[in-house]
């Protein structure tokens, strides 16, 4: 199931928190060999985790992490503006309608349905909170996966070579993507809204014109 959890509440889900940070260590430090920090718990954790971000987490049936990503509003300090503005032609993106999405990761053995469920969650956030775009930092090899599940970002720029390669891209809010992503995730609209509402105690409003 999908959970939307602020950083300040993450410790109330200790299994989820522990397995998420371990899966992040496996992905970013061990597989991709990015220059990230692993703490004494074996967790990959950075300064942005300390800024009380909003996490979207796929929880497996046994309560462990199946996939996740991390959101911060671009009106505050963000990883993209701190580290990747060179990939955006020096544009410092700031808008209450654009949130940054970083540390997209799939757990061990997660399938493409989990990836699709997370893209679905990104869309639900955009729909519910009048967002126009998500601004993402990701491993460029994910682009093929994003494309398969029907939610391709527009890659704005990439840096590094080989395993170090990292990309910045935009997911615009395209309401029409939702049907495709729901299908790929094998989920109904109702269950997605139910999960959202349970996390936020907040129903998604009818789509507003974002102009």
């Amino acid at each position: 199931m999908l959970r939307y959890i602020y950083g300040k509440d993450l410790a109330t889900y200790p299994v989820l928190q522990d397995s998420m940070h371990r899966d992040r260590a496996a992905q970013f430090a061990h597989r991709l060999k990015w220059d990230v920090t692993i703490d004494q718990n074996g967790w990959e954790r950075d300064e942005y985790d300390a800024m009380n971000p909003l996490y979207v987490i796929w929880e497996n049936a046994d309560g462990t992490h199946g996939g996740s990503m991390r959101f911060l509003p671009t009106t505050e300090q963000t990883m993209v503006n701190d580290h990747f503005s060179n990939l955006l032609n020096g544009v410092d993106i700031r808008s209450p309608f654009i949130w940054e999405c970083t540390r997209f990761v799939l757990g061990q053995g997660a399938n493409s349905r989990v990836a699709a469920a997370m893209m679905l969650a990104g869309g639900e956030l955009m729909r519910a909170f009048s967002l126009t775009h998500l601004l993402g930092v990701f491993d460029p090899r994910m682009v093929r996966i994003y494309s398969t599940i029907g939610a391709s970002p527009e890659v704005l720029g990439s840096a590094g070579e080989g395993r170090d390669k990292i990309s910045v891209g935009l997911w615009p809010f395209r309401p029409e993507d939702r049907l495709q992503v729901l299908k790929r995730a094998g989920l109904s609209s109702e269950i997605s809204e139910h999960w959202f509402s349970r996390s936020f105690g907040h129903p998604i409003h009818a789509l507003q014109k974002a102009a």
Binding site: Y6, K8, N52, L54, P73, T74, T75, E76, L88, N89, G90, V91, D92, I93, R94, S95, P96, F97, I98, A128, F129, S130, T132, H133, L135, E154, L156, L170, P172, F200, G201, H202, P203, H205, A206, Q208, A210, A211
Partner: protein, 263 residues
């Protein structure tokens, strides 16, 4: 709220140079949105608070006196979050919260509320709130219709409050990046978004993100407003006759960005 009224509000907000002017602006918002109350509430990390709004002053006084900030589910629920919050989704289950709510309704706050939380610098929390007495369906319609405007107003209002805070140096107008400057310049010259995207060799989606970002930095309501702002602040220069001039203009034929426009 009509776009024109919001425009007038933002213009007046921009010109405000004292905190007490914000009170009048908020009264204007209440009338324009036709809700019972509009409130801006600032809480600093050390618990210091102030605010502006249309609540009964006796309620504001009582709130302070009773230190309700410690039990108010709106403050507790919005603390450290950054998504818009409908009051019905907050936790009103404790006895203290239920009594607080009952009292708030008696003082005319209303049975519905919608708050935009903003996490400002140094642990500041700002809340921009509408409250009203109405049924759930009408309130859902109100928040769905106005969420976007409400988010913008919240951010601009908080920026102004931060700028006017005593002893604080206002942040300089955020510089536009060259790409944002180019985008606004071309739009100001009358090009369509599609044409501007082509000129800048980016997609329309990316262009839209650049425009969103530029207009937020300019405190603008929409693209037209952003272009006007950028022009009046000298951030962009639009050669009025350039488009109509025969033979193009520098950079036109080789597709490069004209230097004069990008400066």
């Amino acid at each position: 709220m009509k776009a024109l009224e919001l425009d007038t509000f933002l213009l007046a907000l921009d010109q405000a140079d004292a905190l007490d002017q914000i009170q009048d602006l908020i009264v204007g918002l209440r009338d324009a949105f036709q809700v019972d109350h509009v409130v801006y509430h600032w809480v600093s990390a050390d618990g210091e608070q102030y605010g502006f709004g249309t609540y009964d002053p006796r309620w504001a006084e009582r709130y302070q006196e009773r230190d309700y900030i410690r039990i108010d589910p709106v403050i507790i629920g919005c603390f450290q979050q950054f998504h818009p919050v409908d009051w019905r989704r907050l936790d009103w289950s404790s006895k203290a919260a239920r009594e607080f709510r009952k009292e708030a309704v008696e003082y005319g706050v209303g049975n519905q509320g919608f708050s935009i939380p903003i996490r400002g610098p140094n642990g500041q929390l700002a809340l921009f709130t509408a409250s009203h007495s109405t049924d759930d369906a009408s309130w859902d319609a109100f928040t769905a219709r106005h969420q976007r405007d409400w988010i913008l107003i919240a951010h601009y209002l908080n920026q102004k409050a931060l700028d006017l805070e005593k002893g604080r140096t206002p942040e300089p107008v955020r510089a536009l990046s060259p790409r944002e400057t180019d985008a606004l310049t071309y739009l100001g010259m009358g090009y369509s978004r599609g044409q501007v995207a082509d000129l800048l060799k980016i997609s329309e989606h990316t262009l839209r993100a650049y425009i969103e970002s530029a207009r937020f930095k300019l405190g603008a309501l929409n693209t037209t407003h952003a272009v006007a702002r950028a022009t009046s602040e000298g951030l962009i220069i639009i050669g009025g006759a350039a488009r109509a001039a025969p033979g193009g203009w520098p950079g036109r034929d080789d597709g490069k960005i004209p230097k004069s426009a990008a400066s």
